[in-house]
């Protein structure tokens, strides 16, 4: 089906199953260890060997030779496949860096070989015996230096790198109150719990790969291209995924190495990326330097807003689109945004949860706090005053729904915002206490998504789609959608995901997964309803599917009878019209944070957090809340600790394990509260939902920065907000 007009009333609006707080239908499998993650497939295709990946020891240059004689003689070793052995390979569509093949080294820990042995330990031991000779070349590793020669990129993920409305420079110059500050965000690592892993098995020229992928079809195409085989020869399975955050959007090298190795030894091979390889071998969220200028009248109306961002990537890469939200979030007649891209020889920068908006709001929402203070306004009032119900760059495009002000007001009331004092005015024991707020904003993205549903004679409705569940709850919301559409209880629905033999879905990313994949299931269910109605001679538009029955007028037929002994199938997908061009679809929220900062040491600890979200229909308040609190936790890490430390001499991320790259631990996370506004957006899809998974991260870190300022009077603009940046500005204690 093509979704071209705002949705009218439809069976989803009954909300008997959709929107209900239903626990994960795959929860029991997960807590009892029966959900198979990529590394946990044991011999599905015969006894497998283990491959251990070897990463480049240099950041840039060429491999001159690889001496694998000693490794080859090591006990248990079956085969060593090197990047020189497989030669230059097609890269596929989605990655910037090549994953494997050829002599060129583009970044540190790029895969250069896989050692295959009977056991994991044998493969790992032999891997250390490879002797690799490199010709190292100088590279550029500093964004600060790269900024000086950064260029305007061709595009930024399909968006214009620069936008301009009115006369920004003139309006800024003549504004009564102005702010002009620089902010920076560091490189960040996805650091999902489950490392990348794959098990590859060949049957003749056909490959089956069990892996951990957010986007089945993207991986399938790129893997086939890299191997030089037809896409149809590749079957990919990824039914359970231990987190991705964008780190599993694009084909990764574990899949490539497993495939080459399995081919080489004629046996299945399993490969996982060791944790210390992940930060440099895979992608990361690139660092940014951002300049924000805001000009306003004394009464707080923004007249000029400008946001520029610099980031770096390998040649051929993309900028981190940190200015995107500034094009849409606040009013102001004179505006400019610009992105500039430096060529850096660090590992590939690419999408991580809320790419663009997450680092963009880390800067913009501090700037708004600073500006409010300059104006002597409450930061909530300042934001509300500059609300806009239309795209401020194209005022003909209204937002389909926008309730940022409602989120701010409700949050302020629930959080006790009126008790916020002046900076540095509240102390409990040795802790300086402060509150901060920030707006949350993330666009709603639309990708095609298809599914197949089958109702069998026992009344079980089975859904098949290559959609993935990366811990988000896809299984559950898809089951809810199908149950609602056919008028069945959720325990009559079986959901099968993450298999390339199923219809191609939107996949999981960009917070588009829930809305798009359930819309695809909706479309398939409509087809099934039509088939059932046709079989009964009903007009499908008038038939009512409820309580396991289909009804028309005074006729009622149990669904099990209706489908007959062979069952009935419906298959379809959703495609999108131009509603997202004529209108702006976005999700909104407000983050409130209370922090304590130790007045002696400058250690910041979070005390309370609240998120209020306006994001269309909430399909399941339990799984949606999980998404938000997980994102808020990630925002705490992003604010306080997470930074891939760049060694600018050697060109790599130094702290490449979970001891050095500090994500929050339980003790860092206090009580978190989440409130969802009661919404349904008919412009977004027949489901009337939008995404929440990234909205929950957007703005959190800035709310923390603003809370630190309120606690201490120290304004920090460079993330992470660690004590070494604050100490010299804290009051004397001795």
């Amino acid at each position: 089906m093509k979704f071209e007009k705002p949705a009218e009333m439809n069976p989803i609006d009954r909300m008997k199953v959709v929107g209900q707080p239903i626990r994960r239908i795959d929860g029991e499998l997960k807590v009892s260890g029966q959900a198979k993650y990529a590394y946990e497939w044991h011999d599905p295709a015969g006894s497998h060997a283990y491959g251990y990946p070897v990463g480049s020891a240099i950041a840039k240059g060429r491999i001159l030779s690889i001496d694998s004689k000693a490794a080859q003689r090591s006990p248990g070793v079956l085969k060593i496949v090197t990047t020189l052995d497989v030669g230059d390979r097609e890269k596929g569509k989605f990655n910037t860096a090549k994953l494997f093949g050829g002599s060129e080294i583009q970044h540190y820990h790029q895969a250069v070989a896989v050692v295959v042995a009977e056991t994991f330990e044998q493969a790992r031991e032999a891997a250390a015996l490879l002797k690799i000779e490199y010709a190292e070349e100088a590279g550029s590793f500093s964004l600060k230096e790269g900024k000086l020669s950064a260029v305007k990129p061709k595009d930024a993920g399909g968006s214009e790198p620069d936008t301009s409305v009115g006369d920004f420079a003139g309006a800024f110059r003549s504004a009564e109150v102005t702010l002009d500050e620089e902010y920076s965000t560091p490189d960040q690592s996805h650091s999902m719990m489950e490392p990348h892993a794959s098990l590859a098995a060949w049957d003749g020229d056909e490959l089956t790969l069990w892996t951990s992928s957010q986007m089945i079809d993207w991986w399938r195409g790129d893997l086939a291209a890299t191997l030089g085989i037809d896409k149809g020869k590749v079957t990919l399975m990824s039914p359970f995924i231990g987190g991705g955050f964008g780190g599993k959007l694009f084909l990764r090298v574990d899949a490539v190495l497993a495939a080459f190795a399995a081919k080489a030894i004629g046996r299945p091979v399993k490969v996982a990326l060791p944790r210390p390889l992940m930060a440099n071998n895979t992608t990361h969220r690139p660092a940014t330097i951002q300049r924000i200028r805001i000009g306003a009248s004394r009464d707080g109306k923004i007249s000029a807003i400008g946001h520029e961002s610099w980031s770096g990537d390998l040649a051929g890469g993309q900028p981190e689109a940190a200015v995107m939200q500034t094009r849409l979030l606040y009013a102001g007649e004179n505006r400019m945004t610009a992105m500039r891209l430096a060529t850096l020889n660090l590992p590939e920068g690419n999408a991580m949860r809320a790419p663009g908006e997450a680092p963009g709001l880390m800067a913009l929402e501090i700037a708004m706090d600073e500006m409010a203070e300059k104006l002597g306004m409450d930061p909530i009032e300042f934001r509300k005053l500059n609300d806009t119900q239309v795209d401020p760059e194209n005022p003909d495009r209204p937002f389909t729904q926008r309730n940022l002000n409602g989120c701010l007001d409700l949050g302020a009331e629930r959080f006790g915002w009126k008790n916020r004092g002046k900076p540095g005015s509240r102390m409990e024991g040795n802790m300086l206490i402060g509150m901060g707020v920030a707006a949350a904003f993330r666009n709603n993205l639309l990708l095609p998504s298809a599914a197949r549903v089958r109702l069998d004679r026992s009344g079980i409705l089975t859904v098949e789609t290559d959609m993935t569940d990366i811990g988000t709850g896809s299984y559950t919301i898809i089951a809810q959608t199908a149950a609602e559409m056919l008028g069945l209880p959720i325990n009559r629905v079986a959901v099968h995901l993450g298999d390339s033999r199923f219809p191609v879905s939107a996949g999981s990313g960009g917070q588009f997964g829930a809305n798009c994949s359930t819309s695809g299931v909706y479309a398939a269910c409509l087809k099934l309803r039509e088939a059932i109605a046709a079989k009964l001679g009903f007009n499908s538009a008038d038939a009512v599917f409820a309580d396991g029955e289909v009804r028309l007028g005074n006729r009622t037929v149990p669904l099990t009878d209706a489908v007959g002994p062979d069952g009935l199938t419906g298959e379809d997908g959703v495609e999108w019209g131009d509603l997202s061009e004529t209108h702006q679809q976005s999700t909104f929220g407000a983050h409130f944070v209370e922090v304590g900062v130790d007045r002696f040491t400058g250690e910041t600890r979070i005390r309370r957090m609240l998120a209020v979200c306006a994001a269309g229909r909430i399909l399941n308040p339990i799984t949606a809340r999980s998404q938000i609190i997980g994102a808020m936790t990630m925002g705490v890490g992003g604010a306080l600790t997470e930074e891939l430390a760049v060694d600018e001499r050697r060109g790599f991320f130094v702290n490449h394990d979970l001891a050095g790259y500090e994500v929050p631990v339980h003790a860092d996370i206090p009580h978190q509260e989440v409130i969802f506004m009661d919404e349904a957006d008919p412009y977004s899809s027949p489901i009337k939902a939008k995404g929440v998974g990234e909205l929950g991260l957007c703005g959190v870190s800035a709310a923390i920065a603003n809370a630190i300022y309120n606690a201490t009077g120290v304004r920090l603009r460079r993330y992470p907000l660690t004590l070494d940046k604050m100490l010299h500005q804290l009051p004397e204690v001795a």
Binding site: R124, A128, T601, R649, V654, E662, D724
Partner: protein
Amino acid sequence: MKAFTYERATSVQQAVSMAASNPDARFIAGGTNLLDLMKLQIETPLHLIDINHVGLDKIEATDDGGLRIGAMVRNTALAADEHVRRDYSVLSRALVAGASGQLRNKATTAGNLLQRTRCPYFYDTNQPCNKRQPGSGCSAFGGFSRQHAVVGTSEACIATHPSDMAIAMRALDAKVETVKGDGTRRTIPIADFHRLPGDTPHIETNLERGEFITAVTLPAPIGGKQIYRKVRDRASYAFALVSIAAVVQPDGTGRFAIGGVAHKPWRMGEADAQLKAGAREAARAALADARPTEQNRYKLDLVERTLGAALAEAKG
């Protein structure tokens, strides 16, 4: 990990003689650090002597009113011991500030003293590191050094000692009891146990090859307010940026050792003598010879402020 052979010792004597007969052997107790290092091939012993069954798991009173802590006493047990909690609370507090409950259940008293630095360059076998590969150079010097040592460093190494427990033991003037391969016993004051890096950062303690730690002794209780203040970026499960183990008497005199700033638990007699004068004077005396990098210069200020917090707590 390199393939290794394994044998289990059931007595100290047996463990020591096993070590004497095999120069490639290492003792393994809790294994919470050694196994990680073996997986990364930073440590490559060809033979492991499991000492988990040699006894030495008691905490006993000594004749002079102190405590003898068996080498194999687990960190959890030591932290929870009633005598330790009553008379040496700085030690108990330091222990629970370190690692996680699971790790403390495995980690031993002797093993904790012997844990190795968490310098990220030490952990990356592609990078030069004098501690891992003598003579290869120090990557941290001029590199990512925010967490590194500021005092007692050398051109060859700016790594820190990561233990919390050892910082408290240094403040308490603990002694390390050992037995050598030939059966001779000696007692090493903890001040002399760990070494500064100098030109040989790969040699971290003054233990001889095959020398076996049997116990750590604490002198008779010294009273005072005992405080362990560990500063870190996240609330738990992180190594100290700076830590202070302090024992402060009612008259304001006392002693303190500093963690996170040197290749060994850092304590200076001159600094103890300044404690009564205040945190600034004492911290400056302790770090008079500091040579920080640009990235870790903040530790000088942080030590002073953290000591200030400890002294404030002692008063309160």
